[in-house]
Amino acid sequence: MSRQARFYQWGMVIDLDRCTGCGACVVACQAENNVALVEKQRFAEGRDMHWLRIERYWEGEFPHVRARFLPMLCQHCGDAPCEPVCPVYASYHNDEGLNGQVYNRCVGTRYCGNNCPYAVRVFNFLNPDWPQPLPDQLNPDVTVRSRGVMEKCTFCIQRIRRGKETAKSEKRLVRDGEIQPACAQTCPPGAIVFGNLADPDSHVSRLARSPRRFRLFEDLGTDPSVIYLKGGGHEHAG
C-alpha cells in the first residue's frame, strides 16, 4: 500500500524541553508490557530489560554544568536496520509504520539487536521470574516473553489494536489522542505525544512540524517514526 493511501502512520513526538527525566514513563512501560524484573547482578552483566530508558548527558563543568535527558526507545524506523538481518523474519514492518517483533519466530540470533543503532532491543537471557502473587499484575493483553527471545518497545500495540477495534465497531477512524501508549499517558509534563502522522491535523503531526524537530542519527537513513524536539531553546513550536 502506498504511503498516501494509508489511514494510519503511527508516530511519536518527544519534546525535550518538557521532559524532566522523572522516569514515570519507564515504570508505566514496564507495568503495561510485562517487562521482566532485573536484579542488580543482572544489570552488572548488562542484562537490563527496559524497553524505554532515560539517557542522561552531562554538559560543561562546575559551576556551568547542565544535565540533559533523552527518553530512548525503539524508533520504529521506516527503514529499519534490524529487519533485513533477521534470518527468520521475526523483526518485520507493518503497513502502519510499526516495527514489529514476532516472539514465536525469534530464534535468538540477536542480529537485530546488534544492528540497531539505538540499542533499544533487549534479549531474554533468562526466563522472567515474578514471585507470587506479582504475576497477577501481568497485563493479559501482552504476551510474556520467554528465554531466548528478543523484545522491544511496540508503541503499546495492544492499545493500538484496542483503539482500532473500538473505532471500527463505531464505524469511524481512530480519533486523535484516543490511543496513547503507557508512557505518553502518564508523562506529567506532557513531553510524549503519540498519534497518526498520516493525519496532517493530528497533534503529533502539528508538533512534528516544529522548527525544533530532529531525529536521532538522521544521517544513517533509518527514517525513524520518533521525532524529538530540541530542549533548552527559545523558539517555540505551535
Binding site: D15, L16, F43, H50, R68, F69, W130, C187
Partner: protein
C-alpha cells in the same frame, strides 16, 4: 506468498490456542504464534476511580481491573490535582498491592525483640490481645500511656482517630513524616500571616526562581507541578517560561533549569536579600504588595544596605554576574514566581531564609495573582504534629510514659534519624504494635503485627493539604478484593472500640468505615436526603471524588506585616578542620523517605541523575574526588560526628566542591526482599543539630569527612554512566 499473507493464515489457526492460554493461567501466558497486531484479542477490562496514596499529594487514579485483578494504574483525567498523569511512584503502586512479602495474617512476636521471629495468630486473638492490654491500661487509670504514631492524617480518618483517642482517653497521637508541611506553613505565617501551604500557579508563570524546591520530585505535589512545568515551557504559543534554580546540588528538578546558582548551604537567604536589594535599587517592585505587607521601600533598602552584590557573592559563592542576570530576570519578567523547599528548610536558619525568599514574592507581586503564589484553602487539613511534638514524644518514650505504641502507615525505625533517639528508646516501650503491609524496620521490632489492606483494597477520603487552592476530596475505594487476611486501619479502630466498650464505643458508633465516609461526604454536600445522596455518592465513586471547580477568587489575601529577620547566620555540626565537607541528604525521587524502597520497579529504575540501580551512593564533585584520590565507583567512608558509613562514590559534576550528597531511602534492615540489606541508612550520619530557637529540624547542617577505602564499591549503573552515545552525535 507475501509475508503478510502467510502470517494471516497461520494466525487463524493459532488465535484460539492463544486465547485459552490466557484464561487458564496468568503466570504462563502462551506466546502468540502470530504477528502481535493481528493476534491480540483484548479482554474485557474496567477502570475504577480511586486515589494514589504513595505520597500526600493525593493524585486521582484509574485502576484497570480485569477478571478481578488490578492490572494497571493510570491517572484520573477528572482529578484536578494530576489531570490524568502519574509519577513513577504512582505507577509502581501496583507492586505494593502484589508485593510477595506482604504480611498475610496477624503475627505475634515469638523470640527476642527484633529477631524477626513471629508466630501467626488469628485476628480474634490479635484483637483480644490488644483489647486486653488497652482495657488494662484504662482500668489502671493509665489510658494516656497508649500512643499512636501515623503520618499526618486527613479527612474522615483524622476524624475517626480523634474520636477514638478522646473516647479512650489518650492524648498521644504523633502525626509526623518527612513530607509534612510544618516549615512551609510557618514560613507562610511569618511572611504573610497565613497558615496555609503555598500552591503555585506555575503553568501561567513566565519566570520561576526555585530555592531548593524540588517540585518535579518530592516537593508538595510533583505531578501537578510537573504538568504545570510542561505547560510553562511549551504550552503558550509565543512564550517559553524560564527557570532558575538555587541550591548546592543540581537536583533532578534543577537539571531542567536554564540557570543554576549553586549557593553554599545555608546562604540561600542571603542570596534572596541580595536579589531583593537589586529590585529595590532598580525601582522595579510591586508598590501595592509592599505596602500591604507593611513595608516601605526606602526603609527596606536601608536595612538591606549590607547585601551588596559583592558581599552576597562572597558569602554565597554565586558570581556577581549570575546574581545580576537573575536580578534582571526578576525585574523584567512577569508573572514571576519564587519557591522555597527542603534544601533551605533543613538549615539552622531555615525559617528566616524562607521568609527572605517570600520577600521576593512580595516584591514581584506574585501573591494571589495569576502565575503566582496561592494558598491551600482553609478547608484543607492541618499540618499534623510539629517537630517539637516529635521530640516531646520521644522524650515521653524515654521517660517510660508510653506503654503501648501503635505505629501505622509509617516506618519510624527506618525514617527517623537515630540522633533523635527514637530507635534507642524503643526498648522503653513495653508493647509495640505495627500495622503494616510488609515487615518494615519498625514491624521487625514489634510485639504484634497487624496486616493492613493495600490501598487498592481500602476505603478512604483523601483531602490533599497541598497542590490545591480549592477544595478537593478524593474518594479512595476498594477496586479488588483482599489478597490476604488483612484489614483496614479504620476498621481495626472500630473493632477495638466495640470490644473496649464504654466511652470509646459511644464516640465511634459507626458500623464500619464506609458508613463514616458516607456520613462525612453527606455533610460536605450539605446533608441531602437519602435518595438524592445515594445518587450523588454513585457519581462521586465514578468520577473519583468531590472537586470544587475553581479556587474561590482571591480567597486568602495576605494579612499581617512582614518583618525582616534580624539574623541569617547558620551553623553546622562538626568542626571545619575535622569535617571539611557539607553533607546534603535529599529525599530520593523514587523512594522519598524510604517508603518506596520495597517496590522492585522503583529499585530497578535507574536514578535519573546517576543512572544507578538498586543502590545508595555518595555524590562528590570531580575536583574534590580528584583531591581525595577517589574515582567513580570506589568504596569510600563517610564520617560525621554521629557515625561512619561506607558507600560507593559517584563522581557528580553538579555539586559544589565542598558539598557531598546522599539520597535518603535505602539501607532498610527489613522491608521485604527488595528493600532489605541495600547497604546502610544514611540518616545515621545526621548529627543532633536543630534550629532550637524555632524547634525546627536541621537535616542539612551536618559536616562530614571522606576517605577512600578501595576500588570495589560494586556500583551498578544501567547502561553507560555518561549516556550511551556522545551528545554531539545525537544532536542534543
Amino acid at each position: 506468498m507475501k509475508r503478510r499473507t502467510f502470517l494471516k493464515l497461520t494466525g487463524m489457526s493459532s488465535a484460539s490456542l492463544a486465547l485459552s492460554g490466557c484464561q487458564k493461567s496468568n503466570e504462563k501466558l502462551i506466546p502468540f504464534l502470530v504477528a502481535p497486531e493481528d493476534g491480540t484479542v483484548p479482554g474485557q477490562a474496567d477502570d475504577y476511580a480511586s486515589v494514589c496514596r504513595q505520597c500526600p499529594a493525593g493524585c486521582g487514579i484509574l485502576v484497570r481491573v480485569s477478571e478481578g485483578r488490578a492490572k494497571k494504574i493510570e491517572g484520573n483525567p477528572l482529578h484536578p490535582v494530576n489531570r490524568g498523569r502519574l509519577c513513577a511512584r504512582g505507577q509502581a503502586a501496583l507492586q505494593d498491592h502484589y508485593h510477595p512479602d506482604r504480611v498475610r495474617q496477624p503475627l505475634q512476636r515469638d523470640g527476642e525483640r527484633g529477631s524477626g521471629r513471629f508466630a501467626p495468630i488469628s485476628w480474634d486473638q490479635a484483637l483480644t490481645l490488644l483489647t486486653e492490654r488497652m482495657a488494662g491500661l484504662r482500668t489502671a487509670g493509665q489510658a494516656d500511656r497508649l500512643a499512636l504514631f501515623t503520618p499526618p492524617l486527613t479527612g474522615s480518618l483524622a476524624t475517626l482517630v480523634g474520636r477514638f483517642r478522646d473516647g479512650y482517653g489518650c492524648r498521644q497521637h504523633l502525626a509526623w513524616d518527612w513530607l509534612n508541611t510544618e516549615w512551609l506553613r510557618r514560613v507562610s505565617q511569618l511572611s504573610f500571616g497565613i497558615d496555609g501551604v503555598p500552591d503555585y500557579d506555575l503553568a501561567e508563570a513566565q519566570y520561576l526562581l526555585s530555592f531548593g524546591a524540588d517540585f518535579l520530585e518530592t516537593h508538595l505535589s510533583p505531578v501537578r507541578y510537573g504538568q504545570s512545568f510542561g505547560a510553562m515551557r511549551q504550552l503558550r504559543p509565543t512564550v517559553r517560561g524560564r527557570f532558575t534554580y538555587v541550591g548546592a546540588r543540581l537536583s533532578l528538578t534543577a537539571a531542567s533549569a536554564d540557570r543554576w546558582l549553586p549557593a553554599r548551604p545555608g546562604t540561600e537567604g542571603v542570596l534572596a536579600l541580595g536579589l531583593a536589594r537589586e529590585l529595590l535599587l532598580r525601582g522595579v517592585f510591586d508598590q501595592a504588595a509592599l505596602q500591604a505587607a507593611g513595608l516601605e521601600a526606602s526603609e527596606l533598602l536601608g536595612q538591606l544596605s549590607a547585601y551588596t552584590p559583592r558581599a552576597v557573592s562572597e558569602s554565597t559563592g554565586v558570581s556577581p554576574a549570575d546574581l545580576q542576570a537573575t536580578a534582571t530576570d526578576l525585574a523584567t519578567i512577569r508573572p514571576a514566581l519564587i519557591m522555597a523547599g527542603d534544601a533551605v528548610a533543613w538549615q539552622t536558619n531555615g525559617l528566616e531564609a524562607g521568609s527572605t525568599i517570600q520577600l521576593l514574592n512580595i516584591l514581584v507581586g506574585s501573591v494571589g495573582h495569576t502565575g503566582g503564589l496561592h494558598f491551600s484553602p482553609p478547608t484543607a487539613p492541618g499540618a499534623g504534629s510539629s517537630f517539637a511534638d516529635l521530640r516531646t514524644f520521644i522524650r515521653q518514650m524515654a521517660a517510660g510514659r508510653i506503654d503501648t505504641l501503635l505505629v501505622r502507615g509509617t516506618d519510624p525505625a527506618y525514617s527517623l534519624p537515630p540522633a533523635l533517639q527514637f530507635q534507642a528508646q524503643l526498648h522503653k516501650v513495653p508493647f509495640l504494635v505495627s500495622m503494616t503491609r510488609v515487615l518494615d524496620d519498625t514491624a521487625q521490632m514489634a510485639d504484634l503485627v497487624l496486616p493492613e489492606h493495600s490501598d487498592l483494597e481500602s476505603w478512604d477520603d483523601v483531602v490533599p493539604d497541598r497542590g490545591v487552592s480549592q477544595q478537593v476530596v478524593g474518594l479512595q475505594q476498594p477496586v479488588v478484593s483482599p489478597l490476604h487476611d488483612s484489614r483496614s486501619f479504620p476498621d481495626v479502630l472500630l473493632a477495638l472500640a466495640r470490644r473496649l466498650g464504654g466511652e470509646v464505643q459511644r464516640s465511634c458508633p459507626w458500623e464500619n468505615y464506609p458508613a463514616l465516609l458516607r456520613e462525612s461526604m453527606r455533610q460536605r454536600l450539605g446533608n441531602p436526603a437519602e435518595a438524592a445522596f445515594q445518587q450523588e455518592w454513585l457519581g462521586l465513586q465514578q468520577q473519583g471524588g468531590l472537586f470544587e471547580a475553581t479556587p474561590p477568587a482571591n480567597a486568602r489575601p495576605p494579612g499581617g506585616t512582614f518583618r525582616l529577620p534580624s539574623q541569617l547566620g547558620s551553623s553546622f555540626a562538626g568542626a571545619a578542620e575535622a569535617f571539611p565537607l557539607f553533607l546534603q541528604l535529599y529525599l530520593s525521587p523514587f523512594f522519598t523517605d524510604g517508603r518506596g524502597a520495597h517496590l522492585p520497579w522503583l529499585q530497578q529504575l535507574p536514578d535519573p541523575m546517576t543512572t544507578t540501580v538498586w543502590d545508595v551512593w555518595v555524590e562528590i564533585n570531580p575536583v574534590t574526588a580528584q583531591q581525595l584520590g577517589i574515582v567513580h565507583g570506589d568504596l569510600v567512608e563517610v564520617t560525621s560526628m554521629a557515625g561512619t558509613i561506607e558507600l560507593p562514590a559517584v563522581v557528580y559534576p553538579g555539586i559544589r566542591p565542598e558539598v557531598v550528597a546522599i539520597p535518603i531511602g535505602q539501607g532498610h534492615r527489613a522491608g521485604g526482599r527488595y528493600a532489605a540489606g541495600r547497604r546502610v541508612n544514611p540518616l545515621q550520619l545526621l548529627a543532633d543539630i536543630h534550629d532550637e530557637r524555632h524547634s525546627l529540624p536541621a537535616w542539612g547542617a551536618t559536616r562530614v569527612q571522606l576517605r577512600r577505602l578501595s576500588a570495589t564499591g560494586h556500583l551498578v549503573a544501567a547502561g553507560h554512566a555518561e549516556g550511551s552515545y556522545r551528545r554531539d552525535i545525537l544532536g542534543l
